[in-house]
């Protein structure tokens, strides 16, 4: 008997039973998406809903890529997310390191200003940003989708938190030996920061890949749309084609799920740096 007054095996069964139930609820919709995506057209519109395809087929995927231009959307999503990630990692790392380790005039004040700006939702900036990019001729271009994501306060904060742990001696020694600041950054700082760079890269990539509202606004040309935008408009037109829409969801979700599964240690660690220690 434990302190709850029930036998240990019962407590253990309850805890693990609840965990299994919750895990099933979390994952079931995703597994079912995969199952339906492999069904024949129309097969899923039955009651009770079939759980597994009677004769699995890749027909829906073939249809998506050949007729719906899914390859193009996939490419757009990859291009935009990769560009955002590459630029954001570079700019945020430079700034995060500067805020952590390089004393410059006004540093603290600027940083406090940045933190205060965190409470402003991005949507407030969207209308003027749209007009601005229109002036610059960047509406309906990859650049228009990329520019707002090129640097971010959260990313700077993430790098700064981590970079503060770099010992000053590590930077002072090469300075005395006459090494320039760029050289110190690339040869000493970057290697030390590698774990947080992976974290930042995952965050940037997932954020860009999963973003919906801004690409929806800025990319109206069909040929430039990202996966979420294309999927949303396809699903409005093809409400009845459940099997094909599930295949579209699989194509949209699987890359980020795989990325997360492969690198979850870094992702979860970044989540905690960004929140608990805030």
């Amino acid at each position: 008997m434990n302190d709850a007054g029930m036998p240990a095996w019962l407590a253990r069964a309850i805890v693990n039973g609840l965990l299994i139930a919750l895990a099933a609820l979390s994952v079931a919709p995703l597994l079912w998406m995969l199952a339906v995506s492999l069904m024949q057209p129309g097969e899923a519109s039955a009651f009770p809903p079939p759980l597994l395809p009677a004769s699995p087929t890749l027909h829906n995927y073939a249809e998506l890529f050949s007729r719906m231009g899914m390859g193009r959307y996939l490419l757009n999503s990859f291009l935009i997310s990769t560009l955002v990630t590459a630029i954001a990692v570079l700019l945020n790392t430079l700034a995060g390191y500067a805020f952590a380790k390089l004393a410059f005039a006004g540093r603290e004040r600027v940083f406090r200003l940045l933190l205060a700006a965190l409470v402003i939702p991005a949507q407030v900036s969207m209308m003027p940003l749209f007009l601005m990019l229109k002036q610059m001729g960047l509406i309906n271009s990859y650049a228009g989708a990329v520019v707002p994501g090129m640097a971010g306060i959260f990313g700077i904060f993430l790098v700064r938190q981590y970079a503060r742990s770099i010992p000053d001696e590590l930077l002072e020694a090469p300075r005395i030996d006459g090494a320039g600041e760029w050289r110190i950054f690339f040869q000493i700082v970057l290697p030390v920061l590698r774990p947080i760079l992976v974290t930042l890269a995952i965050f940037s990539f997932l954020g860009a890949w999963n973003d919906f509202m801004w690409p929806l606004i800025v990319l109206s040309d069909d040929s430039l749309q990202t996966l979420p935008v294309a999927l949303a408009s396809l699903s409005r037109e093809h409400v009845q084609d459940n099997e094909m829409m599930m295949a579209g969801s699989v194509v949209t979700v699987v890359p980020v799920l795989l990325l997360f599964l492969a690198l979850q240690r870094y992702y979860l660690q970044g989540l905690l740096v960004g929140s608990v220690k805030g």
Partner: protein, 292 residues
């Protein structure tokens, strides 16, 4: 280059991007919200007029704005506590000494968080289908009549809340889990020796120590839930009977469907004010209760 010069040089690119593509637009939005910027101004800037607070006053007289606000507050008021409760429950289960396969469960709970909201909304729209959705099938097994989840104005928002909680609870769970792991085990040890039940241990040890984490999670979740947009856009398109039009949905339609950008900026600012007021109120209450 001196380190102090290098500091500015290194910080400048990121700061310029944030300045040009965020700070300036935010300030411009305030100005824009005081004008009647619409499709005519988009064609010819001379058509732009300064209207002072007219956009705001018109919004406050617009029934659709009030229903969008009501829908958003409904989503926040029900969704945030529910989402936090599920997150905390999951974290407590995962933290339990009795749990098996913790990393496996943690990954399963977190998987929905990293998925693309549009893609999983497509799945849920199907799960919630009145005639052949799995959810109604499950309810039928329990002898409950089918619910017209997405066609009934009374059920559409609960359906979206259900979806949002499923999608998001894993995020806060990770933060709670870290908070729970930071609580020293000997506090529970001492409480057990004094004969405190698990429920009392939770109330008098876990909750008070978790207080700051709970506050932070509440603020983050509030801010996130106020920004409801993609879910109604994909699942219900604001319907039925505009029961799922959120404030941001309204902003999107005003701005990028009707091209009333002045009006849309006013909507965005009102949302921002509302979010700031709510989170400040929460912090004020927390401070009075002694949670730092």
């Amino acid at each position: 280059m001196k380190p102090s010069t290098a500091g500015w040089v290194f910080a400048a690119p990121a700061l310029s991007v944030i300045g040009v593509f965020f700070a300036v637009p935010v300030l411009a939005a305030l100005a824009l919200s005081l004008t009647d910027f619409d499709i005519y101004s988009l064609a010819h800037i001379e058509n732009l007029r300064f209207v002072a607070f007219d956009n705001y006053l018109n919004l406050l007289r617009n029934p659709l704005f009030w229903s969008a606000l009501g829908n958003t507050l409904y989503f926040v008021a029900v969704g945030v506590p529910l989402s936090i409760a599920v997150s905390l429950g999951a974290a407590l289960l995962l933290h339990s000494r009795l749990a098996w396969f913790k990393p496996l469960f943690r990954t399963a709970f977190f998987a929905p968080v990293v998925t693309t909201v549009v893609a999983v909304a497509v799945i849920w729209r199907y799960l919630l289908h009145t005639r052949y959705g799995l959810i109604n099938w499950g309810l039928a097994q329990l002898g409950i009549d089918p619910v017209d989840w997405l066609g009934d104005p009374d059920w559409a928002m609960p359906a979206i809340i259900l979806f949002a909680v499923w999608k998001n609870f894993g995020y806060n769970m990770i933060i709670f889990l870290a908070g729970l792991q930071a609580i020293p085990e000997d506090l529970y040890e001492a409480a057990r020796i004094d004969g405190a039940s698990p429920a009392r241990q939770f109330r008098h040890i876990t909750l008070p120590i978790l207080g700051p984490v709970l506050l932070m999670v509440s603020i983050l979740t509030l801010a996130g839930y106020f920004q409801l947009f993609a879910e109604p856009y994909v699942i219900t398109q604001g319907g039925p009977l505009q029961s799922t039009v959120s404030v941001l949905y309204l902003m999107y339609e005003e701005g990028f469907k009707w091209w009333n950008l002045g009006n849309a900026s006013a909507v965005a600012f009102l949302l921002f004010v509302l979010m700031t007021a709510t989170t400040s109120a929460l912090m004020w209450i927390a401070r009075r209760k002694g949670v730092e």
